[in-house]
Amino acid sequence: MNKFILLLIFSTLLFACKKEEGCTDPNAINYNCEAEQDDGSCEYLEPFVTTPHSITTPYGFPDMLHPTDNPLTEEGIALGKYLFNNPILSHSNGLACTSCHLQENSFSSPSNFSSNVNGVAVTRNAMALVNLGWANNLAWDGRDIGLESKILGTITNPFSMQGSSDSLQARAEKDAQFMTLFAAAFNNEDITIENAAKSLAQYIRTLVSANSKFDRYLKGEEQLSVSELGGYAIFNSEKGDCFHCHGTQQFANNQFHNNGLDPEPFTDLGLGAITGNTADNGKFRSTTLRNIEHTAPYMHDGRFATLEEVVEHYNSGGVWSSNIDPNMKKVGVGLQLTNQEKQDLVAYLMTLTDDEFITTN
């Protein structure tokens, strides 16, 4: 009997020594469910990685606004750029973002009202896309909060591109380049317009303009002419008062003002249509003046063809309405600039042009 017990112990010991070896990690591709002892042979799938992209904050700019669920990646930006220039997102008619946002126009449109997917003219001037990583209330009237939601709205809006995830998927299958770019950016996530909007938002955050003649002047790298300096002084003092709404290194406060374009009743209520507050009627966003030389025509409806006309508007003091901004304090009297001063102001506005931004990217 004792012998028997001894044998039993012996055999269990032996058995234990004979434990099957293999890969014991259930997350490995060669996981062996029989294996009891890991022998270091586990092999794994290449993890999905994207390459983070960082943007240097230009002098005098705040930190960029970044939604945490859409960090900048090289792959996301590449996909966004592809989508921006490709009609794959629109319902039909071959409309791309670039149809209305042309790079040589600082990503704005040279026509007052561009045509939408159905060939119908939209009711606002297509905005320049400059330094939007620092703006939160988007569109002329601030109705969209954040780039992702603004872009998603443009893709789906029947008055714009009228696209959908279904139409995108149908076209994507025939577009090998899109498939490669999408997989690199989003791995095996679904092909949706939400993901498309995320990548476009990333791309638009990279459209940073901060290398104009004026920036180089501030760094002491270039001189301004006498006329440009004259304009600088008008812009930045209460003589022209431009800085109150287009100030800081961003040349925008991205807030909403009535700059005296029209008398009441307003045909386009602007911010008032969004908030429902009559005190907001006729207020529009004061956007950046960077690259303004290239974004004609001007204002939300493209009413002014040239910068000279814009300056003439402000010089007139603007049109009084019950919502005109108190900073338009020379309404009725006008700024009373001389012809030379008006030219100087235009010359200064043209120092905000960033040629690199218009040509490369």
Binding site: S237, E238, N253, N254, W320, P326, N327, K329, V331, G332
Partner: protein, 250 residues
Amino acid sequence: MNKIILLFSIIALTLTSCKKDPVIPMPIPSFLTIHFTHTVDGVPLDLTTTESELPYTNAAGQNYNVKKLQYLVSNISLETNEGTKTLKDVHFVDKEDASTLKLDLGELENGTYSNLKFNFGLNGEMNISNAYVNEGFHATMAWPDMMGGGYHYMKMEGNFDNDTTFYNTHTGGTMSNDYSFQYNEGNEKAFVVNDQTGDIEITINMDANGWYSQPNTITLTTDGIMGNMQLQSTLSNNGSCIFSNSVTYE
């Protein structure tokens, strides 16, 4: 007999229960909140949205309204047993934005507090262009480099005389001068915080008509004043007389 025992034991019980565990009151924390309020000659200031209403009258006899009131206060502090306690470096007040009218400053330790102080605007050291580039007020309050740089101390705007004439009372450090001024309430409103004090509310009131009326009379015009050092200095003098504060305990 039984009744006597019962009575006795009840009395004994009540007696002991009273003597047992003398109730130590729970210490309560004291949270400090500062409120910013605005009056015109003692009447609460209302921002007007229609130009035709001109409810206020300044010392020069001009009727006016206020459509916008925004300003910076800095180095808000209280004096304590251990020295000066800075409560907030810079605070932006926008009459239109209720969230800026209330400043929650957290818990106060036990002690004696006095001499509420703050600077209206930013002193020369703090008033530097782009110093607060990530603050919400940066774009609203920035003051052009050409006129000395830094930030507006205050923007008070509205109509005067009639609905088409606007005044812009914009104060700041014209040509890098320091026109900020200190409010120092002195000792009268000293308060003690102990375990039983509860929350403390301090109200800082600006009587806005004072900007134009005391001790110097200022006449509103449609001209900008940001480059006018004489006016900036006069406004600074007037401003130092228009604040008051009160302290209340919960």
